[in-house]
Structures are given as C-alpha cells and as structure tokens.
Symmetry: C2
Subunit: 226 residues, 2 copies
C-alpha cells in the first residue's frame, strides 16, 4: 500500500507496508579519517562489513526493497542482498533524484551505522509523523524516514540535522526526532571504534575486535592494537 491509500483509510504505514530503504555507499578509499589506525585495504574491507550489518538490520526489520546507491556497481560485493543503483557523484543530487522516482515511503540510512538493530528500524518506520530524523553527532543526519518522498528533499553536509528540520517545517511535514545513542554513532574516527567494540554485535564489530582491544585510561576507554 502506498501512502495515498493509507491517508484515505486513516491508517499509517508501518513496516508491514511497502517501503524502500536506500543506503548511499562508497568503498574506494572510504573512511580516510580512520587511516591513523586502519590501512586503505582494511578500511575498504571494514566499510563493506558495516554495509552488510546495516543491510542485515534493515532486512530483519521486514523491509524487502533495499537499494545501495553508489557511483560504481563493482564496489558492491555480490553476496550483499540488495539492489545496486548506480548514479553520478553528488550525494544530494543522487538522493533527490531517487526520492523523485519513489512511489512509497523511503528510509535513507547511512552505511556507517553498524550499531543499528532491526528494532530501531521498526520503531522509526512505525512513527506516526511524516518525517523521522535520527541525528548524528555534531549536527549530522544519520537516518531519514520520509513517508511522502514528493514532499521532501534532502540536503546533506554542513549541519544537515538543522537543515532537514527546517525543510520539514517549510514543506509542512510533521517531524519526529528519534533519540538513539547507537544510531548517533556513525563510525568516522578512531574513537568511534570504541563504541563499536563496546556496543556492537555484527560482522564489523568482530573485524575490529580481531585488531584492537580496550585500553582504559583517565576514565575513558581507548583503542590498543592487538
């Protein structure tokens, strides 16, 4: 069921309804800010494992249509159970083009959120609001759930959390801010790997656990190479 039908019947779409998830993804030379602790090859392996963890969570939440949005089809491993959508570089242009062509609610989720669980996805997509934003650290947007893709557009980079809240207001879309530490933790820098070790459970956590262990000093946990 699409949204128009649901509005007529007064019932909101939940995870049992048709919806799509889209994951922007870049493998080549990904996560350069992790280069102090991981080599280029390791970073490329690691982002693929994070992507697999994200796809698994979405899939277990009951969303069947999962698209990986990338600039290079060859960068997505064959064993990842998702469609590959190839577009030109430019995250905002690619996502807004995607939204324009979507006829059902869309969940935009970043590939560097390996702490996501099926329960998160189910709660976000069960919201009774038009748009759900999951803030990242430092003013970012880590997940966006958009019921009516024609009534929204994205503008990532540069404090996108505030921008997306503004866009929702301008477009008269009701808004929920979903509060989650695990989803606020996009894995960008070495200290984010500590959160993955502490709170993760998937493939990417296992990968990092093989390479690092905890070092506790001055009340905070740090990484130490194995």
């Amino acid at each position: 069921m699409g949204r128009a039908e649901l509005q007529n019947s007064g019932i909101r779409c939940t995870t049992v309804c048709k919806m799509r998830a889209v994951i922007p993804y870049k493998k080549t030379n990904a996560k350069s800010r992790l280069s102090p602790v991981l080599t280029l090859e390791e970073r490329e392996e690691f982002v693929e494992l994070m992507l697999k963890d994200v796809v698994t969570a979405i899939s277990k939440a009951g969303i069947e249509a999962i698209d990986i949005l990338t600039t290079s089809a060859g960068s997505v491993a064959d064993d990842i159970k998702a469609n590959v959508v190839v577009d030109k570089p430019g995250l905002n242009e690619a996502l807004n083009g995607y939204l324009q062509n979507a006829n059902e609610p869309v969940l935009i989720i970043m590939a560097d959120l390996p702490l996501v669980t099926p329960r998160h996805i189910q709660e976000i997509t069960a919201s009774d609001k038009d748009v759900v934003i999951v803030p990242g650290k430092g003013g970012g947007t880590n997940i966006l759930f958009i019921r009516d893709p024609a009534s929204f557009h994205v503008k990532y980079y540069d404090s996108s959390f505030m921008t997306h809240c503004d866009i929702a207001r301008e477009m008269s879309q009701s808004l929920e801010v979903y509060d989650s530490f695990l989803l606020s933790t996009d894995i960008d820098e070495p200290h984010d790997l500590v959160e993955l070790l502490l709170h993760g459970q998937g493939l990417s956590k296992n990968y990092i656990q093989q390479k690092f262990e905890f070092e506790v000093s001055k009340g905070r946990v740090k990484l130490k190479s194995n």
Copy 2:
C-alpha cells in the same frame, strides 16, 4: 512502597511509586576540560545551570525525593529544590554508602546531562528490569536506575559501563541498556557544547547560546564565540 512489597504483589514500581534520585555534584573548578572556551567563573556558573536543568527534568517526571551529593554544602545554590547530602570525597564510596542507606529504588544521574527530559526519566524508571544503565560516550555510565539498592554497588571511572553490566550479572540483576543520544551526551569538552546548542532547551543551553554560535565547516558544526 519498597521493592519487597512490590515483588510480593507482582507489580513493578514505576514513577508513581516512591523512589529517590541522587545527583553527584562538584562546583569548584568543575569541568576543567571546558577551560579552552570558558573561564573558571563561567564554568562554575555553567555547571550550576546544568544541575538546575537536571533537577527540573527529574522533578517534572514526578520524583519528589531529590538528593544532591556533594563534598561542600555551600556549593549548592539555595534556589535549587533538592536536599543536599554532604559526604567525603570519593564518588564510589559516597554513592555506595548512599545505596546502603536507601530503602527504595534509586536513580543515580550525573549533573552534566542537561539534555535529559522528563520523558527519559519516566521511561527509565518504568523499566521492568532490576537495573537500567544509560551509557555515556567512551564507555561511561551516565544514569543508573537500581530497584533494589541492597543488590547492587557502583564502580564509576574506567569504563564503568562494562563494569556496571558485569556487576548486574554477578548480582543476578536483570538489566536494560537504555539507548539515548541525548543522555549519552555528558557535557565535558567544547564539542559537546555543540550538541547542547543543537538539541538543548533549558537554562544551560541559553547560557551557552549567549556566548557562542555555530560555525559550519567540513560537514560538522563547530563553536564560534559571539
């Protein structure tokens, strides 16, 4: 009602039941890691406003017995509506002494969590688990809810999140980890003030807003003096 009665009747204590909240608090030369952006006097003003925001949220959640645990009675402003409990230095010793003397469920909440809302407190204290832990960034424990204080002890510092999970297991206490970005954000360092500006709404947010504004660069929001 204490826990023993509730177990007998099969009903769990929620926020309408009797419980206590305790907030460890230090004003003198507090938050030294904020010294690059705030003077000593400003930091002492700021921690008092954060404490007021925390007390307001707890109070609005319906908890009437609020204790501020400090080493100096004079450090707590008269207009803060809470009891002042003076103890010797040593966070763990003071809190474990407090727990030993408590006859009702206890919520331990840090004073540097100005993003806390009454809803957070209500959800945490409504848990059906024996112990609820709210993790902070980097392996810390920002809030602990303990139904039966005689069956738990605290050990803050040095990756206390893992330690408190272990203690709950050792003491056969059922455990919930409460996932909140806002509650994971203890205000320790300048970049934490960005989160307060973005997501806060209380006295301490207003204080920081008078001094700083956003500066957007390289996709992240930073602070800039007014």
